[in-house]
Structure formats: C-alpha cells, structure tokens
C-alpha cells in the first residue's frame, strides 16, 4: 500500500509537467504580443518604448526554449510568475482565489453527497415506485440542463423575481459576489459562512455547482445499489432476519459505494468545468472565473499557474479516491498488476 501511494505520487510529476508544458507551447502559438497586452492592450496604442521595456523585463524576446526553461526554474523555486494583466503575482492571486473556490466546492460536495446518495439509495430500495421514476427522469433532465442556464434560472426564481415583486428581504438570495471578508486569524472559519447574509450569497452557486454531479451520483448510486441488493449475501442477511435498515445500511451501502467512489473521482474533471461556468455566472471570485478570465485575456502566467495548481489537486484527489477504493473493498489489491 505505501509503495502504491509513493508510486502514484511520483506519477503526478510527469503528468503535471506535460500538461503545463502543453499549455505553455499552445499559448506560445497564440496570435498577439503579450508585451502590448501588459502595456494596456492594442486598442490603447501603448508607446513603443514601454513595450520594449516590458519585453526585456519579462524576457519575451528570448527563444521559446529559454523562456520555457526559465519558467520551470521559477516554478520549481516556488514562484509562479507575474500576471501580465494585473499588477499582482500569480502566487498571491492563487492565495486570494483558492479559498473562495474551496469554500464553494466544499458545500457543493456536501450537497452532492447528502442529496445524491440518499436519493439514489431511496430510489433503489423503492424500485418502480413513482419516486424512483421521478428520480430517473429528474436526474437525466438535470444533467441535460447546461450549468449556466440552471444558474440563471435559479437567479431569476430566487433573486430577480422576488426583487421585482418586492418580497421581504430575507426571501431574496444574492446573484453575484461572495460577501465574505477573510481575516488572517481563524482562517478555518472562513469556510463556514457566518450570518444569514453570507449564506444568501452561497446557496445558489453551491446548488448550481452541485447539480450535475448530484444527478450523476444519484443515478450511479441507484444502479450500484440495485446490483448489490440482488447479491447473494443480501439474501443471506435477509434470511438471518436482519431488519431492512440493517441490511441496506450495514451490508448494502458499503458494497454499493465502490463504483460511486470511483465516479466521484472521475467526475472531478467535469466539476472543474462546471466550476468555471458557475463562478462566471455568479461572479464568484474563485479560481474558475479567474482562469476563464485569464484565458480570454491571454494572461499566460496566470493560466499556467492556476492550471498547475488545479492539476496537482486533481491528481491528489484521484489518489485519495483510489486509496479509499481499497478501504471500501479489501479485495482490491493496490499496486499489483492493475492500472
């Protein structure tokens, strides 16, 4: 087991290297001169001397391999570079935005776990009931609605419309921003919204971000639970005279969780995509909206730095998923033969 974890940790290094290098060369092929961009954009006609200075300062006229080498040298020493667009280092952008994203993702994940799994289990136990049918259709429908459309629908229903109708203040949720000044001390409290005002900013984006993966988790949980309920050991448990609750929770759940756990890991890539859209729709100042913004502004260092962070986190979470897979199913022998 430890050797498996170490091997997987080592595999993250080439993955991150190749992914970020790929983006580096991709952006190098982009039309448009970053120096002009830093100086204020082509439409402002920045003065050539300034452009010259910037080009030298950032080493933009070095051969690409030199720039590439320098970039990795800086990254390895813990410096992700300087944003082209804003007067800020990528490290500080990362430190600013990451907690916001984690806060949103954490609550979305809680919703996914609680709603997705319980709906899936219920629907499996009461198979062919109207609730089950509703789940099947509902989950398919929710995963077909684009994240951004769902975001706007929720905004309209819970914020814009109540505002228009002049409903009491507490019934109107917020559509943009985060409303949470972060203090240095007690940083861990940041993840738990304080007071009704902060909740009102959090609820809609959290539901929006959670929607797709919740629907997926519910479908997966249902299918997996149905399969488990038909297993021999479940019949044995029933024959022993255990209560249905004990059978489902004690015997079924742990076994049915297996494929769902894998899904939660695999699904992470899609969740990151959903996060970009959700944060854009709700002007949530997180990593997703910052990356989208940086890509359209060709702010190369920001894109690379944030992608690097995301890829590392993504790989680590997948590693955790694989390890927990072994915990859920002792039959899975890690590190031997399998991928």
């Amino acid at each position: 087991m430890p050797s498996f974890i170490i091997r997987r940790l080592l595999l993250i290094i080439p993955t991150v290297f190749i992914a970020v290098s790929f983006l580096f060369f991709l952006f190098y092929a982009l039309p448009g001169d970053p120096a002009t961009l830093i100086a204020g954009g082509a439409d402002r006609n920045p003065n050539p001397i300034q452009i010259q200075q910037i080009t030298e300062q950032y080493g933009l006229d070095d051969p690409i391999m030199v720039q590439f080498f320098n970039y990795w040298k800086d990254v390895l020493s813990g410096d992700l570079g300087q944003s082209f667009q804003r007067n800020q280092s990528v490290n500080s952008i990362l430190a600013d935005k990451a907690p916001n994203s984690i806060r949103l993702a954490m609550w979305a994940f809680l919703i996914e776990l609680m709603v997705g799994l319980s709906v899936g289990i219920y629907s499996a136990i009461r198979r062919y009931s109207w609730a089950d049918k509703l789940t099947t259709v509902g989950t398919a429908a929710v995963s077909a609605i684009p994240v951004f459309v769902l975001g706007f629908i929720l905004q309209y229903a819970f914020a814009v419309y109540p505002n228009k109708q002049g409903w009491p203040e507490w019934m109107r949720l917020r559509t943009s921003g985060i409303a949470a000044p972060r203090t240095e001390e007690e940083w861990f409290l940041f993840f738990i919204p304080v007071g009704p005002e902060q909740w009102r900013y959090l609820v809609l984006p959290a539901i929006t971000l959670a929607s797709v993966s919740t629907a997926l988790a519910a479908r997966m949980m249902r299918g997996s639970m149905l399969e488990t309920l038909g297993a021999d050991y479940m019949r044995t448990a029933k024959a022993k005279g255990l209560s249905e609750r004990k059978i489902v929770v004690g015997h079924g759940l742990r076994n049915a969780m297996l494929p769902v756990v894998t899904l939660l890991g695999l699904d992470l890539g899609a969740t990151i995509g959903a996060a970009v859209l959700t944060e854009t729709v709700f002007s949530w100042p997180g990593l997703g909206s910052t990356i989208a913004d940086a890509v359209t502004n060709r702010d190369l260092p920001v894109v690379l730095g944030l992608t690097l962070a995301v890829v590392v986190v993504y790989s680590l979470i997948n590693l955790i998923v694989d390890v927990s897979y072994a915990w859920f199913d002792p039959r899975v022998r890690l590190g031997e033969g399998g991928q």
Binding site: A19, A29, L30, G269, A292, N318
Partner: protein, 308 residues
C-alpha cells in the same frame, strides 16, 4: 407416426386457423430487429428519438419554419416578451428569438455530430491500437489519455479555441480533439478482452495481418458500446459547445448559437428572462433527447442489464 397439427411449435387452434401473427421461428431474428423491439418498449427513449428526428427536420427546413431571418430587426420591439408576432419574443436589438432558435439547431447539430465523429475516429483508432498492441505503445497511449484527462477539460478547450480563433469550425476542432478520451478507454478495454477470444487467436493463426484482425474481426464486436457512447457523446458535445459559446470562445455574433444567445441575453434577467429561457430550453431538450436515446440503446443492446 403422423405429424401432429402444429408448425414449428405453434399450436393450431381448434378451428384449424393459424394465429394471426406467426412468431419468426423459421427465420432467425436479427440482432437489430431484436434491439429495435426492446428499444420500442422504452417510452422515454422513443420520445427522445422522436425529438431528435423533429430537430433534424427543423434544421433542414429552417428556412421554411422561421418567420424571420437571423439578422432581421424589428425596430419597434426591443427585448419584448413572447407575442403573436414573435413567439419567443425579440432580443436586445429587436431580432426574432424564435427564428434564431430555429436556425440555431443547425449550428448545434452540425457541431455536435461532426465533432463527435472526429472524436470517435481518433478514439477508436488509438483505443484499438492500445488494446491490440498492448505492451509499451499501449501503455503510452493510456498515459497520454490520463494526462489529457488531468487537465481541466474546459481550460484546454478555451485555450485551443483561443488559438484557432473564435468560430464554429474551431469549436468542432476543439471538441474533436478533446472528446476522444472516453471512447479510447472503452475501445481499449473491449479490445483487451477480445484479445483472448478464440476467434481472434484463430485469425492470428491463419496469418491475417494485425490491421485486418483489428478492423474486420474485433471492431464489429466492440461496436455496441461505441454506438451507445457515441449517441450520448453527441449530447455532451452540444452541451460543451453551448458552454464554449456562452464563454464567448465559440461562434461569433450573427451566428445564432444557443449558448451565445444565452450569453447575450443574460444582462437583463429582470425584464427579459425569455432571452435566457428559450435558447436554454432548446439546449436542455436537445441534450436530454440524445442522452435518452443513448440510454435506451444501451438497455436495448444489453438485455442482461434490464432483467437483473
């Protein structure tokens, strides 16, 4: 001993008349007619299929169906709600939303289908190669797939779209180049299983070339998951196209891409929610239809799943 009065196991009724409909016992039931029979029983899947057909008709006859062109402006109506003149209302500069949604079906279907075809071809070739050859070339392909999967898909897509320029074709290229990962894994897994089948060994023993074994012998046998995946993938591609259009890295203004229409209409949710609602509904229903057809196909192709 004389023959009892039955034909192929069918009892003849006392009156001597044959049942109105004979089971096809004498002629083998083909795989596809069997699949179709099971597919037909799934109401949701049939509804999805009907919707897809309708959508294709709408796309083909968009000129006939749409009352206005995509650029025609009604200068007396800006962002007005649905009316008898403009069924889905008008947008910020007075264009008819219904007509634009109708023409938008062309954009979505074209991007969805073409990009999925590209992705399927790449994925099938790489997956077949990785599964058939195995050893280090196969492992290399899977490593590359893992790396692509570990880059947030949407970042990659936005980056590539920015490089290729913001247009319909670049979205097709982007989705084609990023969409092959899933099918590659499926085909590889399927080929690795088939590698051990006797008929594949027999083909090897007969001295057929690898390419022939891969595409003539093995591919037809892994076609079912590919078809199911491909159907759902068209839906996913349309969804991804909408997301890229929404982020303004897809087709540009006069093009009535549904995602772009949502993006243009999002500014005035209070007074003109229809600008988000109708194109949003069009995306959702289209994606849902393809997913339902795909799900139905999967159940119909694999009856074991249903009876379990």
């Amino acid at each position: 001993m004389t023959n009892p009065p039955h034909v192929d196991g069918i009892e003849i009724s006392p009156t001597g008349a044959l049942p109105a409909e004979l089971p096809h016992t004498s002629q083998p039931v083909g795989l596809w007619s069997d699949v179709w029979r099971r597919f037909r029983d799934n109401k949701l899947a049939v509804a999805g299929l009907v919707f897809v057909f309708l959508l294709i008709l709408v796309a083909i006859f968009a000129d006939v169906i749409a009352p206005y062109s995509i650029t025609e402006r009604d200068s007396s109506q800006f962002r007005s709600g649905p009316s008898s003149d403009h069924w889905f209302g008008t947008d910020l500069i007075g264009r008819d939303v219904f007509s634009r949604v109708v023409y938008g079906s062309r954009v979505s279907l074209r991007i969805g289908i073409v990009s999925t075809l590209i992705a399927m071809v790449i994925g099938v070739f790489l997956g077949a190669f990785a599964g058939f050859v195995g050893r280090w070339p196969g492992a290399l392909v899977m490593r590359i797939t893992d790396i692509f999967l570990s880059v947030p898909y949407i970042v990659l897509a936005i980056a590539i779209a920015t490089v290729f320029g913001r247009s319909e074709n670049s979205v097709i290229v982007v989705l084609g180049l990023t969409g092959w990962l899933g099918v590659c894994r499926i085909v590889r897994a399927s080929f690795m299983q088939l590698n051990n089948m006797e008929y594949v060994e027999a083909a090897h023993a007969l001295g057929f070339r690898g390419r022939r074994i891969m595409f003539r012998h093995m591919l037809p046998n892994s076609l079912q998951p590919i078809i199911v995946y491909g159907t759902i993938a068209i839906g996913s591609a349309i969804l991804a196209e909408a997301a890229l259009s929404f982020l303004q890295v897809g087709p540009q203004d006069p093009t009535p891409a549904w995602g772009l229409m949502v993006s243009q209409g999002k500014g005035d949710l209070a007074n003109a929610p229809h600008l988000v609602l109708f194109p949003g509904l069009a995306i959702s229903l289209t994606v849902l239809a393809f997913v339902l057809v795909g799900d139905g196909l999967r159940d119909a192709l694999d009856p074991k799943l249903k009876t379990r």
